[in-house]
Amino acid sequence: MENLTQWNLTFVGIENLGLRVLVVLLAIAALYFSWSSIKSITPASKRLLLLALRFAAAMFIVLLILQPQVEQKEVLKLKNKVVCLIDNSKSMTLKGGDTGISRFQLVADFFKDNASFLEELQNNFDVDFLSFSDAIKEISSDDVEKGLVLDGTNTDIARTLKLLKKRYEGKSVKGYLVFSDGADTVELPSSINKLEIISNLAKDLSAPFFTFSPGGNMEVRDIAISNISYDSFTFVRSPWKADVTVKILGYKDLKLPITLKQGNDIISSKVLNTGEESELHIDLSFTPYTTGTYLYTISIPVQSHEAITENNQVSFLVKVVRDKIRIMHVCGRPSWDERFLRRVLKSDPNIDLISFFILRTPNDVSEARNDELSLIPFPVDELFTQALGSFDLVIFQNFDYRPYDTSFFRFSHYLNNLQKFVEVQGGGFMMIGGDISFSQGGYDGTAIEDILPVILYTEKDSIDTTRLKAVITNDGMKHPVTILDDNADRNIAIWKNLPELDGCNVTTQLKSDAVPLVIFPTKGNLPLISVRDVGLGRCMAITTDSLWRWNFLSVGEGGSNRHYIKFWQNAIKWLIKDPTLNPIRITVNKEIFLPDEEVQIKIEVLGRNYQPMEGVQLGIDVTNEFSGKSIFFTNATTDSNGQYKFTIKNNIEGYYIVKASAKKDNDEIGQDYTVFNIALENKEFKDTSIRRDVLAKLSEVSGGKYFDLPTKDIEEKVSIENPSIVKLVGRRQISLWDNGYVFMMILAIVSIEWWVRKRSGLS
């Protein structure tokens, strides 16, 4: 900037130039005619004197008419702006696979190699230095040489252009110098053309963009899981799928194993043949069998000379929920026990019930043609192969499988499937007694016996038809299946008052890991209701076909059927591992936190009556999923609301597991866990490619030019127009006619002219 003084002459009497010329011409004409009247005067000196006087008078009159002024202006001469934008995102730290030089180093080298250009640029222009990624920030040219902090996590070029527009609105920006890898990380729907948006915003700025990006030998070598498209919640027993995008830079013909893990267990894997592709899409799928929130990890092994290893693995949380409880109810013959159970199951809107009742056996004589019967084929193969996994619970009620164990359909194979359904897939299985159930149904020695809570002996087992009341065991008093009332005493009373049962299947022995909940108090106290955890699933044995009496006879005795209904509700919840039966629950206020953000954790404990439980001793541990290090450990006690709340903060990114165990008076109540994530979302390493096309487009649409880095002698290649601009800072006007001297001079000239003419005897 420099100060300047400028002078201007103006005529304020007549602004129109034509009129001004006319006035001057009239004055010249008047002098000419005046000269004609005095040209005969002698001597010539007198004649010239008169002419001079008249000329002077005419000049002053013209001055009066035109009213001249002198204007004095003080002005400042300004410089045009040039904006120098330097990408400070994390991707600028990436090193070229061949060169070992980081992308930012090339920018710093440019500043060194072209120091004279930059010096001249700063002499001729007002140069602003800004860093950009998802925001713009003022920096100095020295910052580039000293080493800029490269911590941007989300390069957003469109947003940067909008911020520039706002910042330089009304300012004379004559050019933008952009140093970047062009790796814009903003994800937009496929219907939106990001390049077009960036082009339009660049055009709006009305100045050329000179863009600089790392040259051809700067590509990194990297295998990146750049995107995973998945549902963050899914239904239990429904297939879940992730569409994984893998970017391959600098490698060819690799065979890459890609795995999906839950914890340390590989649940799905595939091998990718990369060929010469730079981007591949692959589906990974699995079927979750239990509800809850789980941490899954997709990973690809690190290859030699990879620039970034952290993008070879991506973890995410998936919430597995239950849609409806799907139950397969297979019944060997219609009975009251089946009728009343079916009524409970059908009346629950949360249950999707598929029933198959054997209404006629091969030994029965229907006395009708098949087309006169409503019977349908028993779709054993479909039910126990493809469809089996879609159920939460399978009930065999007084069902003998042997008539269906034909040479064509080997039902014993289906029993193996059922065992796998329970043990591996976490399904529930229940066998209900009757004259063709348990040993009488031929299940001893089968896969079903392996999962049942009771041991079957065909030779010893029989049917006891004694009519007795069932008796709840000590285990049963604490078990969620057999707690029919919140109050323990009332619960015992309910069990005592339930109607007698009409016999049971004699199964003399329980398995060692089975829990007897109710016994039939005949000789040997036979297990009547027993349960067992089997692998991932659960199994229940009810060795009678007369539980219906707890319903109908209770009503007849003046009681209610609600205990019968409650029993079945409990049994189903337990068999399908319904999370509401867990007496301890951990909740975190959200799933993803920023580093050092407060994580609010609440632990609730419910008693056997599902009411808040005070004074429960909690052992709480929060550990990092990958390192296994504990970041928080405490022992605490629940308050009167059965709750304990606490907050933690941590700045280390990663997934954290919160585990809590609860006990009261040395009795284990239960345990639970949940997962949360601390993450600063960094999209910079998802796709490590250099997007020269983006920068070239910016230059093209704005009238600038694209350059590969490194580049030298830039002053010969870049030309930025630099029109002068000034700013008025002061002004003064001096009138040349508006004073008494001018009038006195006119009067004096006219008087002298008159006196000369009188002396000369002229008129």
Partner: protein, 225 residues
């Protein structure tokens, strides 16, 4: 396990009138039920009163008659109402099949006492009772007084089924093996159909709307075409 858990043909005994005009009907039906289906049933029938504590041992009861009878006691009505509302099924069989006369008149009076706001309704031919085992398209009996059954349905379950075609008459066989009553007008075919309907009613009592489950519909519709 014991006999009580098997299907039992329990006949309702009431005061006045003739509560057992077809004493051999139930036994014969049970015999056919065992022979034709997988249902475990007792051959012998039993008798139960509506005010008996044992009523709830038998979720299916059969009421028959051929004469007008005096109103049931209040206790019988309240017990019967409770029985029906909580899972019991009542089959009423008019042995003479005369509308608004004798037994029919008494039955309609008692049903009105049981469910004052639920009148007997004609059961449609697509009711599950017509397809619970055999595929039928109308009601049958010893006589063909009405081609339909009437019923009272509570919460999607028909708790009272009323036939005026003398089902028991069609089922009755004497100890020497002879049919006790001639089926009119259809003869033995009509009798066979009456047995089918009886078995369907028992199946309906035992399995409810099982045959309305989605998995059965395509098969049944195909066979009914």
């Amino acid at each position: 396990m014991g006999d009580v858990s098997k299907f039992t043909f329990a006949q309702l005994q009431y005061n006045g009138g003739n509560w057992n005009p077809r004493p051999n009907a139930g036994k014969r039906l049970m015999w056919e039920l065992i022979k034709r289906t997988s249902v475990e049933a007792r051959i012998d029938t039993i008798t139960v009163r509506a005010d008996d504590i044992n009523l709830f041992e038998y979720p299916f009861i059969y009421m028959s008659g051929d004469q007008e009878f005096p109103p049931l006691s209040d206790k019988e009505i309240s017990n019967l109402k409770l029985y029906l509302e909580f899972g019991g099924t009542l089959l009423i069989d008019d042995s003479i099949g005369k509308s608004d006369f004798g037994f029919d008149k008494s039955v309609r009076r008692e049903i009105k006492r049981l469910f004052p706001n639920k009148p007997l309704e004609k059961m449609p031919t697509d009711h599950t009772v017509f397809k619970s085992f055999y595929l039928l398209n109308q009601a049958y009996g010893r006589i063909m007084e009405k081609s339909y059954l009437e019923g009272i349905t509570l919460e999607n379950r028909t708790v009272i089924i009323y036939s005026q075609n003398d089902l028991g008459g069609a089922w009755s066989k004497d100890p020497l093996g002879s049919w006790e009553y001639e089926a009119i007008p259809g003869g033995e075919t009509q009798r066979a159909m009456a047995f089918r309907l009886g078995i369907n009613i028992v199946m309906y009592a035992l399995t409810g709307n099982y045959k309305q489950d989605q998995v059965h519909l395509p098969f049944i519709l195909k066979r009914q075409m």
